[in-house]
């Protein structure tokens, strides 16, 4: 099977889009390669499960490949792609709520054991930092898992994508007030789960400090 080529930076985004629009799958794959991590990260924080995140992110790419001819260049490619991503997430959310109606925190938690062995081949110096990072990521995932999927999506759009409340409200189809409340709720949840107390630091907080110094 033909795998993705390494996206050469010399080829501009516009050129890749034009080629992809004329049914050049290689060009589309190169285009996908440029944004795949952002989309995957959003999907992972939304689903809290690697397998679901992969399925969802690939669904985004599939939809965008099918709708590529509708891209007229009025906005940036990523803005257009983000719209598709949000729609895919909302559809996923509806399907999930239909399947698991009444289950408020129906998400699989981030599974630390599912990390591939390849990821663990790190130097001894980095292993502690990496381990702490994973714990932190798990804590964040746990905090987000206590939110509804809409609140989670709104928080991700605000914090990860740095969208304005008006943009979020328009994209998700809610009021600006609801968007604000969702973000506030998510921040409070994060604050509770990460349990950061500046005045009385514990051993865990010392590790947090280490992470911050490492960064």
């Amino acid at each position: 099977m033909k795998l993705f080529q390494v996206a050469p930076l010399s080829i501009s985004e516009d050129e890749l889009i034009k080629r992809a629009q004329s049914a050049d799958m290689d060009a589309f794959c190169l285009l996908a390669q440029r944004f795949e991590r952002r989309i995957y990260s959003l999907a992972l924080h939304f689903c809290h499960n690697r397998q679901d995140a992969e399925d969802l992110s690939q669904e985004v790419w599939l939809k965008s490949y099918q709708a590529l001819n509708t891209f007229k260049g009025e906005s940036s490619f990523y803005t257009w792609l983000r719209k598709i991503t949000i729609n895919c997430f909302l559809n996923h959310q509806r399907a999930r709520s239909f399947r698991w109606r009444g289950q408020t925190t129906a998400v699989q938690l981030f599974d630390m054991d599912s990390i591939e062995a390849g990821e663990r081949r790190e130097s001894a110096a980095d292993s502690e930092k990496a381990f702490l990072n994973r714990i932190m990521a798990q804590k964040v995932m746990q905090a987000l898992s206590e939110l509804t999927s809409q609140q989670r999506l709104i928080f991700l759009l605000k914090h990860h994508e740095e969208m304005t409340y008006e943009e979020i409200a328009k994209a998700v189809g809610c009021s600006t007030g609801t968007a604000k409340k969702s973000v506030y709720r998510a921040v409070i949840k994060l604050r509770e789960h990460l349990n950061i107390d500046v005045q009385t630091p514990t051993a865990f907080h010392a590790l947090q400090a280490k992470i911050e110094i490492g960064v």
Partner: protein, 215 residues
């Protein structure tokens, strides 16, 4: 009076907006130790959530497999975009198969009601097929003679006498002349067929139509 709880939303808004983080805090928050601590905790929480976004991403070894799977899905999607006749047929078969194998969830009371209705209607249908035995009415034959009035032809002779007025003078003269003539002339012989001999040949001309030539 300063209320720490009331300021929480402001603190979250400040912690979320990176451009405002560089600016100094409002005096009300700056002077309150609790608010300052809370603000620092919120900022740290959000910072750690941002770091978790990076650390949650899988290692580089994950991406080739991801690309291969995405490419496979894209190829499958592009093939299905142009459906052939065989594909349509297979699709139809699958749909028919699904039609026969799929089931619909019905609540038990509704199912019981439907079953009862079917049984009753089946029983009615069976009863309607049997011949209905109705008691035959007693027929009594009786002969009654009825005189039928026959039409009689009645002839009636109507005689009408019509009188006509004549001029008295003329009639008187005419009568006198007639009397005189009768006295002078011999009496006329009455008209009879004595001595009439019919011709040997009879010539008949039959005129059929209005045309002169037609005979």
């Amino acid at each position: 009076m300063h209320n720490c709880k009331a300021n929480r939303e402001t603190l979250i808004a400040l912690a979320l907006n990176p451009s405002d983080q560089t600016q100094s805090l409002p005096a009300e928050i700056e002077t309150c130790a609790t608010c300052r601590t809370e603000y620092a905790a919120l900022r740290n929480s959000l910072r750690l959530a941002g770091q978790a976004k990076q650390s949650a991403l899988p290692a580089e070894s994950f991406w080739p497999g991801y690309h291969a799977r995405l490419r496979q899905r894209l190829e499958a999607a592009s093939q299905s975009a142009v459906p052939s006749f065989a594909f349509e047929e297979q699709h139809l078969r699958t749909r028919l198969g699904n039609l026969f194998t799929s089931s619909v969830r019905v609540p038990v009371p509704v199912a019981a009601g439907l079953l009862l209705f079917l049984l009753i209607s089946f029983a009615f249908a069976l009863n309607s097929r049997r011949p209905i035995k109705t008691p035959q009415p007693i027929v009594v034959t009786k002969t009654v003679e009825v005189r039928v009035p026959q039409a009689t032809i009645r002839e009636r002779v109507v005689t009408r006498v019509v009188y006509r007025e004549r001029d008295r003078r003329q009639t008187a003269g005419v009568k006198a002349n007639a009397i005189a003539a009768r006295r002078n002339e011999p009496a006329e012989t009455p008209f009879s067929l004595i001595g009439f001999k019919p011709a040997n040949e009879v010539k008949l001309t039959i005129i059929k139509g209005s045309y002169r030539d037609e005979k």
